[in-house]
């Protein structure tokens, strides 16, 4: 849960006293254009960004009062590029957080996470990231974000850089994974279609302000602002072109 979050970069107001709630086990999608402040808001959750005012609460605890390093080890993070270490094997990459938290056998957790994400260890474990396809790399990145049984995942355009087919496969796989494990997610995306497919709730952001939070149905049937209305209309129009 994020309460009254404000953030400035010099003269630029990135976030203006915004509040948002993510119930445990659900996926919140933050949708907006570049520069809307969605990534800044996401980064407040693991203290990669510290808001100028307001508080982020995880399980009722203010993250500002927690040790940043310990906090981050509890939260998975999947950037658009995957962010895998190019000089480490896939297995070693995925074992990162278990190793950081001092698990006795980090590789065992890594292998389990890889199998769950559809990357058989025997085939992919010893490969280097550049030997994987884009989709496989994002799977590995998701495996890494889950290998230490993190219960909150931050996804920053994690599916955005893939071709349509791999993306579709990955979205299916991700949905299955969520059903199996049931972790909480905050997903940042510019694509309303992706949000619609994955999210329990969607927050529409524009210029540092959350215009509306709600389910897809609410956004469609009762848009809180002309911007939300237009966003939905545009997405519907392009979907219709595809259907006809």
């Amino acid at each position: 849960m994020a309460r009254d979050i404000s953030l400035r970069y010099g003269a630029v107001q990135a976030l203006a006293s915004e509040s948002i709630d993510v119930p445990s086990g659900t996926l919140l999608a933050i949708v907006g254009e570049s520069g809307s402040g969605k990534t800044s808001l996401l980064r407040c959750f693991n203290r990669m960004v510290t808001p100028d005012a307001g508080a982020v609460l995880i399980d009722g605890q203010n993250v500002r009062e927690l040790d940043a390093v310990a906090l981050r080890r509890r939260i998975g993070y999947v950037p658009q590029s995957g962010g895998l270490l190019p000089h480490w094997t896939v297995e070693r990459n995925v074992a990162l957080v278990p190793r950081l938290t001092g698990q006795s056998d980090p590789l065992r957790s890594a292998r389990a996470a890889l199998e769950r994400c559809g990357l058989p260890v025997s085939k992919f474990g010893a490969r280097l990231p550049h030997e994987l396809s884009g989709g496989q790399r994002q799977r590995a990145a998701i495996a890494r974000a889950l290998a230490a049984s993190q219960d909150l995942l931050l996804l920053d355009e994690s599916f955005g850089a893939l071709d349509a087919i791999s993306r579709n496969e990955l979205l299916d796989a991700f949905t299955t994974l969520r059903t199996e494990i049931g972790f909480t997610c905050v997903l940042v995306t510019h694509d309303l279609g992706e949000a619609a497919r994955l999210a329990d709730a969607i927050a529409v952001m524009r210029a540092g302000v959350i215009e509306q939070v709600g389910t897809l149905t609410t956004l469609r049937d009762a848009p809180a602002s002309p911007y939300v209305h237009e966003l939905l209309a545009r997405a519907q129009a392009s979907a219709r072109v595809l259907c006809e």
């Binding site: 990669m48 906090l71 950037p79 270490l85 190019p86």
Partner: protein, 554 residues
Amino acid sequence: MMHERAGERTTRASDLMRRLRSGIRAPCARLSAYAAMVLAMVVTGAPPSVKAQAVTARPVVIASKPFGESYLLAEMLAQLLERSGRTVQRRMGLGATEVAFTAIRTGAVDVYPEYVGTGLVAILRDTVTPDMRADPRAAFAHVASNSLRRFGVHWLPPLGFQNGYAIAVRRETATKHGLRTLSDLAASPARLVAGFTADFIGRNDGWPGLQRNYGITFGNVRPLAPAVKYQAIAARSVDIIDGYSTDGLLAKYDLVTLDDDQHFFPPYEAAALVSTRLMNADPGAVAVLASLSGRLSEARMREWNRAIEVDGRAIPEVAQLALDAVGLGAAARTTGDSIAPVDRAGFWRFMLDRRTETLRLTAEHLRMVLIALLAAIVVAVPLGLWLTGKPGVATVVLQGLGVVQTIPGLALLAFMIPLLGIGTVPAVIALFAYALLPIARATIAGLRVADPDAVAAVEAMGATPRQALLWVRLPLAAPIVLSGIRTAAVLTIGTATLAAFIGGGGLGEPIVTGLGLADMRLVLSGAIPAAILAVTVDALLALAERVVAPAHLR
């Protein structure tokens, strides 16, 4: 001939240093003294106290500047002292006047031969009065008293000959145009082409003054490197050159020197300089050195210079002959440790004969480079790390290191002398200073390009900054850091040849001596191994670069 008797090449640099010195001397001295102590321990493997004891009972240090006659005079003085039962340490071929004089002023060197005119023009920077031009004794008295008063350096009575500027033409040119004096030259309608060394063209007591004084004009004045001027006049590329009156090559090429009938040039009498340290520590040695005063003549010096420069006789041998000839000979013991015999046999034979010496010098060279380079890595890599993420500070620090880089090598070495004396230690410190910039810069560049997404991801998942550094940033930066080290290594191997100018040894030794004696084989016997060393080290580091490259780049 690399007859840099007035420190021509280092003059501008020494001006710079003089200005620098006043401002930064104190902190610099403290720092450098500490660094020197540490390095001295590394170099000798002994704590500094052992060195300090050695200083009190040290041998007499005799130096020369890097040209034939200076080598010969220094060797003669050295042999005289050795015959009197004293131990002598030779520091031959110090890089020109600024280096040699600073060394004797600070007591790093005890004795070296110098010329009155150089003392007047380059060391004291005094005006040459008509009185001094007319009477060499007046000039000597002025230089001797002022050197002692201002710098604490003693001039022993002159050795008995002058080695002044000699404007020389081919014999046929002299005959054809009836040239005997510089006044004849001024009056002659002949359109001659002059080939002058760059410093002679630039110096007020050189070509500009000569032109003013006599009203001489030429068809053309071409700048020539000292090493090629005799070949150029022999090949008729030029008609007239600036030489020195005792050059052995004047006779070899049958050149005629024109008489300075209006006494434009200051007198260039040769004399031995002695440090105050030696004067106090061993007056007997000074008496032995003074026994050579007044015994030499211009004709004899020309003959002996010729034996060295033209016939390629070994300097210790010629020095012994010369001492015999002036009645000071006896079974002088010579070690000949720093003057290699000049052998005019075939090139490969020459290289083969020198192989033991070459190996020793290569090892010395490599040791100097390794110590400087390792120290630079130990300092510059952490410095680069520290500067990453501080762009403002980084700019200032890198600019500071860049300024060090722009100080000419010889000037930086000369700057070290007052603080650290001469020899290997100041050379290593100068090399260290040069190696800092490429390594620090490469470290910063390497860290900057190290996959920012990967770095951000590990930090976002709870790696500490230290873990991110050791696991991600450094391994990803390693190839670029190593390429910086590689650049520094090759640079250092090249620059280390300059160490010979301050008695630091290494492969520069035969290069400096060879340049002084116009002996290309000797030059190559240093230059070729230095080049091979550079290429080899570069190849080895290229290999290391492949090994440390992160897996995905291999």
